[in-house]
Amino acid sequence: MVEHLNESKSKDNMDRRNFLSIGVMASSLVAAYGFFAGVVLRFLYPRGRNVTLRPMFVAFADKIPAGESHSFSTPRGEQVILTNTGQLKAGQGHSFTAFSSRCPHLGCKVHYDGEGQQFICPCHQGLFDRKGVAISGPPAQAKQRLSEYPVELNGNSVYVLVEVA
C-alpha cells in the first residue's frame, strides 16, 4: 500500500495481483463477519423444543369424578386440560386424558363439555371427541387434533408428563 502514496488507486492499475489480493481480503472478511453474524442469529433465534419430559403432579384422582375436567399450566406456560373420561383406556389402568387446550386451528382456548364428552372451541365451533380428534368445524376439515400429554396414575395422584424449559 505504501507505494501508492500520493495517488489514488485508479482502475488502470488494477492488475491481476491487485485483483487477487483484494479478492482474498474481501472473501476472508465476508467469511469472518458472516461467521459472527451466524453466531448472533443463533443466539437471537428462540431455542428449539426441548423434549425432556418430567412428571408433574396435577391433582388427586378422587377429586375429579368421571365427566369432570381440570385446567392447569405447564412450567413452559402451555394450558392443559386434564379430563376424567370415565372410560378405562386400554393398557393404562385409568381413565384420565390430558390435552392441550390450544385449538390447532387458530389458537383459541377449548373447553371440555362433560355431557357431550367433547372439547369445544368457541371461536369457530370446532369440536373434538374425547380422544382429541377434530370431528367438526375448521379443525375437522384440516384433519387436526389436540396435542396430547401422557398421564400417569400413582396411587391417588395424577401426574402429567410435561416438557420442562
Partner: protein, 349 residues
Amino acid sequence: MLTQAWSWFRTRVPFDEELLRHLSAEPVSGHLKRWWWCLGGTPLYLFMLQLLTGIILTFYYVPNPEQAYESVQRITMDLPFGWYLRSFHKWSSNLMILAVVLHMMRVFFTGAYRAPREMNWIIGFMLFGITLLFGFTGYSLLWEQLSYWGITVAANILAATPLIGDVLANFLRGGTEVNGNTLTRFFVFHIGVLPTLMIALLICHVYLIRSLGVSQLEGDRPSDTKTFPFFPDHFLTELSIGAFLMFLITCLALIFPVGMGDQANPLITPEHIKPEWYFFWAFRWLKLMTDTNAVITQGIFIAFIMFWPFIDGVIRRRWKNSEISMFIGILVVLYLLGLTVWETVYLMH
C-alpha cells in the same frame, strides 16, 4: 445492466457523486500509516462492536433486581453462544478503554492538542469519561455482589463531595438506598443516555478533526509530508485493524470467558471488594486520605488534564516553546500507572 441499475438508483436518490468522492478522498498525512496514529479509529470501531453486541445482549437481559442476575446467568450458561457474545462485549469494553488511553497518550506526547485543537482535546476527554462510565454502569447491570457494593461505594464517594455530595449520591442511586430504582437508571444510562451522548460528541470530535485536519508531526512542514487519500488507503488500514481486533477479542473470549460472581446481597458485604482495573488508581488514592480530600484532589487532577491545552498555551506564551508538557505527561502516566500497580499488588496478596 449495472449502469442502468445505478442510474435508476441515482434518479431516485440524487446526490453529488463528485462531492462524495472529494469528501472521502480527503488527503491524510503520510504518518497515518503508522498504527499508533490509528488509535483514534480503534475505539470508534470497538464502540460500534459494543453497540452491536450490546443491542444483542439486551434481547435477553432483564433490568429488574429479582431477575437481572438470573438473566445474565441464562445468557452465559444457557443460550447458544451467549457466553461468547457476553465475553466479547466485556473484552471489547476493556480494549476500548485501553485504546482510548493509548490514543490520548499519542495525542498528548505529540502535542496534537495544541492550538487550534484545544476544544477537540476537551471533547476527547469527555469521550474518555463516558467510556469509563460505560464500564461502570455496565458491570453494575450484572447485579452481582461486586456490582451492588461497587455502586454503594461509588455513591458514598460522591456523597463526600463538598456541598452537593448528597444530591449527587441520591441522583446516582435514585434514592437513599441502592435498589431497583438504581438498577433501572443504570440500565437507562448504559443503553440510552451514554450512547446518545457518545454519538453526539463523536460527531463533534470527527467534525473538528476533518475541519482542522490531522495534526502534523513536529518538525514537518506541511509541504514536506507525503499524503494519501482517506478512501481507499486509510479505510483499508482501518479495515485490517478491525479484522485484527475481531480476532483478538475472539481469542480473549475463548481463553478467558466471563463468569459469574455471587448474586447481589444487600445484607453481606464481600470481604474483597474491588472495582475494575481502570478504577484501581482512584481506588488506591481513596485509601490514602479522607473521602472528601480524595474527591477534591481528584476533581482538581481531572480538571487539570481536561484544561491542560489552555494551561500549556499560557506556559508556552510565557516561555517560548517550552516542552514542560513532556515532563507533566510522564508524571501523570507514572502517577496513574504507579497507583494502578500498587492496588493490583495489594489485591493480589
